[in-house]
C-alpha cells in the first residue's frame, strides 16, 4: 500500500512539474465551455437584416416592425436593389434580407397571397436555417394583424397563410445550443484527459526506459498502472465540477434531473475512458502513437459520431451502427436525459449498463495484453 502512494505522489509530481500541461488540463474545460458557448453558438440572436420594400404599404411596414421588435433581429437599413442585398450579405453586414414584392397589399387582398422573399447566407447552413425558421414564425404569427391591416377579417372567405411553421421544438424551446453541447463537451474533455493523458503518461515510461526499470523492481505492474490512473481520475472530477458549475451559472443550462445519478453516470464514463487509455497504452509504443491513436481513433469519432454535433438519428444507417460502439455516445445520451430532460434514472439504465460493460471489457483486454508481453 505504501508503494502505491509513493507512485501516486510521483504521478502528481510529473503532472505539476510540467506546469504548462497542468494549466492546460485545468483550464481546458473553461476554454471549451466559453468557446462552444459563445463563439461557436448556433443560437440566433441580434441578427441584422436589411429590407427591400417594393410596396411600402401598411402591411410591409408592420411586418418589418414585428421583426425588428423581436429580440432575434435588428433592423439595419432599407435598400433598393438585389445587388445591394448581395453585397451586404457577402460583406457580412447583414445576415438576412427581407424582400417584399410590388403591390404587396393589393395582391394580398385580391388573391389572398403575396410574396415575401427571405434571403440568407447559405454558407453557414446551421445559422441560415435558424434565421429562416425564426423569421418565418414571426411573420406567420402576425397573420391576424396582417389580415386586419389588409381590410379582411379572419372569417371572410379567403384564408391567407404565408408560411406554415412546421418546426416543433422539444425540451429546448429557445433552441439554446448550450443545451446541446454541454453534454458533448463533458464527454470530450473526460475522454481527452482520461484516455489521452493516461495512455501518454504510461507510454512515456516505455519510451524513456523507466518502465523497464519498474518492471525489474519488485513492485507489481498493477500498482504502477493503477497509480497512473489516480491523478487523472481526480483531475477529471475537478473538470467535471468546473463544467457543471460553468454551465449552470454562466450558460444558464439547468440540471433538471438528479445530480447524484448524473455524477454517477459521469464516474462510470470516467472509468470507461481510463480503461480506454490503458488499452491504448498496451499497443502503442511511442507517445506520438498514443496521441495519434487517442486523437484519431477515439477523439474524432467522439466528436462526429457521438451525437455531440450531429444527432445520431440523422446519420446513415451504417454510421448509426458504428456510433453504438462509441462510449461517449452513450454518455452524452445519458447526460441529455438526466441533466436536460430531467428523466429518472430508470430511463438511462441501458446507457449505464452499456458503459459499464465497455469498461469491464477494456480492462480485461488491456490486462490480458499486458500479461502477454511478459510471457
Amino acid at each position: 500500500m505504501k508503494q502505491f502512494w509513493v507512485f501516486v505522489k510521483k504521478e502528481f509530481m510529473h503532472i505539476f512539474r510540467d506546469g504548462r500541461t497542468a494549466m492546460i488540463l485545468l483550464l481546458m474545460p473553461i476554454v471549451q465551455i466559453i468557446l462552444f458557448g459563445f463563439a461557436l453558438s448556433n443560437e440566433i440572436k441580434n441578427v441584422k437584416f436589411a429590407v427591400i420594400d417594393h410596396s411600402n404599404d401598411a402591411i410591409t411596414t408592420f411586418v418589418t416592425e414585428r421583426l425588428s421588435q423581436s429580440e432575434y433581429f435588428i433592423f439595419e437599413r432599407d435598400i433598393s436593389t438585389e445587388e445591394e442585398a448581395d453585397y451586404l450579405i457577402k460583406s457580412s453586414q447583414v445576415s438576412l434580407v427581407v424582400v417584399y414584392g410590388a403591390n404587396f397589399r393589393e395582391n394580398f387582398v385580391r388573391e389572398g397571397k403575396s410574396q415575401i422573399s427571405l434571403i440568407v447566407d447559405g454558407s453557414d447552413p446551421n445559422t441560415a436555417s435558424g434565421v429562416l425558421r425564426y423569421a418565418s414564425s414571426i411573420i406567420a404569427s402576425s397573420n391576424e394583424q396582417i389580415m386586419t391591416l389588409s381590410g379582411l377579417t379572419p372569417h371572410s372567405g379567403a384564408k391567407p397563410t404565408f408560411i406554415e411553421p412546421v418546426v416543433e421544438l422539444l425540451y429546448n424551446p429557445q433552441m439554446k445550443s448550450a443545451y446541446n453541447f454541454v453534454p458533448g463537451v463533458m464527454g470530450l474533455i473526460l475522454m481527452l484527459i482520461c484516455a489521452m493523458m493516461t495512455s501518454v503518461s504510461i507510454v512515456r515510461e516505455k519510451e524513456t526506459g523507466t518502465m523497464e526499470v519498474l518492471l525489474a523492481s519488485p513492485v507489481r505492474p498493477v500498482i504502477v498502472i493503477l497509480a497512473k490512473t489516480v491523478p487523472y481520475f481526480i483531475l477529471s472530477v475537478i473538470n467535471l465540477a468546473t463544467i457543471l458549475l460553468l454551465s449552470v451559472f454562466v450558460l444558464g443550462v439547468p440540471i433538471t434531473g438528479s445530480i447524484f445519478w448524473l455524477v454517477l453516470a459521469s464516474f462510470i464514463f470516467i472509468l470507461v475512458s481510463l480503461s480506454t487509455g490503458l488499452l491504448i497504452s498496451s499497443f502503442a509504443n511511442t507517445q506520438v502513437a498514443a496521441m495519434l491513436i487517442s486523437g484519431l481513433v477515439f477523439m474524432m469519432p467522439v466528436m462526429l459520431l457521438s451525437g455531440m454535433i450531429y444527432p445520431v438519428s440523422n446519420m446513415p444507417y451504417l454510421l448509426q451502427i458504428v456510433a453504438q460502439f462509441i462510449p461517449a455516445k452513450w454518455f452524452i445520451e445519458a447526460v441529455r436525459k438526466l441533466m436536460i430532460q430531467g428523466l429518472p434514472v430508470t430511463s438511462v439504465l441501458k446507457e449505464l449498463l452499456v458503459m459499464t460493460s465497455m469498461a469491464l471489457a477494456f480492462i480485461v483486454l488491456s490486462i490480458r495484453s499486458f500479461k502477454q508481453r511478459l510471457e
Binding site: D18, V213, L215, P218
Partner: protein
C-alpha cells in the same frame, strides 16, 4: 552448496518466440562478487537472456537461479534482490535527484530514515551532495549515469544488472563510471554488465560472448586472448560474433 559461491546459475536456459529461438539452451555460472561481462552482437540474444535473469521474461525451458532464487518460480524474490540499470538512464528527468532516490527506495521497501541516510551517504561520496535539489534533466549525461547506478544499488542488492550502462558518454566519464563498478564489486555486489565497448570488456573478471542464441566463448579476457591468439578482446569478438557490434 553451489548457490553459496555462485550468484547466477543457468542450465539449458531457453527462450523461444514462436518458431524463433532467441536464447538456445545456455548454461553458465557467475561467481559472487565477480564483474561479469556479457557480450554479443545485436540480435545475438543477450538482451533476452538478461531479461530472463531479471524476471522480466519467463524462460520457455531450462533452469536459472539468481541470488539463490529460481527465476521461473520465484521471480518476485529475484526482483527484490537485484538492481537493474538500463542503457536509457532509468531516472525520472522531471524529478529532483533526492526524489529519485526516495522513489526507488520506496519501491524496494526501504524505510524513510534508511533512504535518507543512504542517499546522503551516496551523494556525498559521489561529490553530488550540493545537487540533491537539482532536477535530473539539467545534469550532464555522465552524472545521470552515475546517479542511476547509485539508485540501482541503493537497496544493497546482491547482484546488479547493467544493460549497456555507458552508452553515449565520453571516455573520461566511462572511466569514472567503471570506478564505481569496481567499488561496488569490492563491497561484495556481483556485477552483470552488457556493453558495446570492447575496451570495457577488458575490465571484467570474465566475459561471455553470445552469438546466435548460444554462448560461443566464456573465460577471463586474458585466457580468451590466449586461446584465440588475439591481442584484444575486440579481435576475439570479431572472430566469434562476425564483427557486428
Amino acid at each position: 552448496m553451489k548457490e553459496k559461491t555462485y550468484a547466477i546459475i543457468t542450465e539449458n536456459l531457453t527462450k523461444k518466440f514462436g518458431d524463433f529461438t532467441a536464447v538456445d539452451s545456455i548454461s553458465f555460472d557467475v561467481k559472487r562478487g565477480e564483474i561479469f561481462g556479457f557480450l554479443g552482437a545485436n540480435g545475438a540474444g543477450k538482451t533476452t537472456a538478461m531479461k530472463m535473469l531479471c524476471g522480466l521474461l519467463k524462460p520457455t525451458s531450462g533452469m536459472g537461479m539468481v541470488a539463490g532464487y529460481d527465476i521461473s518460480k520465484n521471480s518476485e524474490m529475484v526482483k527484490k534482490n537485484i538492481g537493474y540499470m538500463s542503457q536509457r538512464f532509468s531516472l525520472y528527468q522531471d524529478l529532483k535527484v533526492w526524489e529519485n532516490f526516495r522513489l526507488f527506495g520506496g519501491i524496494y521497501g526501504l524505510k524513510d530514515g534508511e533512504i535518507a541516510s543512504r542517499t546522503d551517504e551516496m551523494l556525498k561520496s559521489l561529490g553530488f551532495f550540493d545537487e540533491r535539489d537539482t532536477l535530473v534533466q539539467s545534469l550532464p549525461a555522465g552524472w545521470k549515469q552515475k546517479l542511476a547506478f547509485s539508485v540501482a544499488i541503493l537497496h544493497k542488492p546482491s547482484i546488479v544488472f547493467l544493460d549497456e550502462p555507458t552508452g553515449g558518454v565520453d571516455p573520461a566519464a566511462r572511466r569514472q563510471f567503471w570506478e564505481l563498478i569496481y567499488a561496488a564489486a569490492e563491497s561484495g555486489i556481483t556485477v552483470f554488465v552488457t556493453t558495446h565497448y570492447m575496451d570495457e570488456a577488458e575490465y571484467c573478471d570474465r566475459v561471455s560472448i553470445m552469438s546466435e542464441g548460444v554462448i560461443a566463448a566464456l573465460d577471463s579476457p586474458e585466457n580468451l586472448k590466449y586461446k584465440y591468439g588475439c591481442t584484444t578482446v575486440e579481435e576475439v569478438f570479431h572472430k566469434l560474433a562476425g564483427g557486428q557490434l
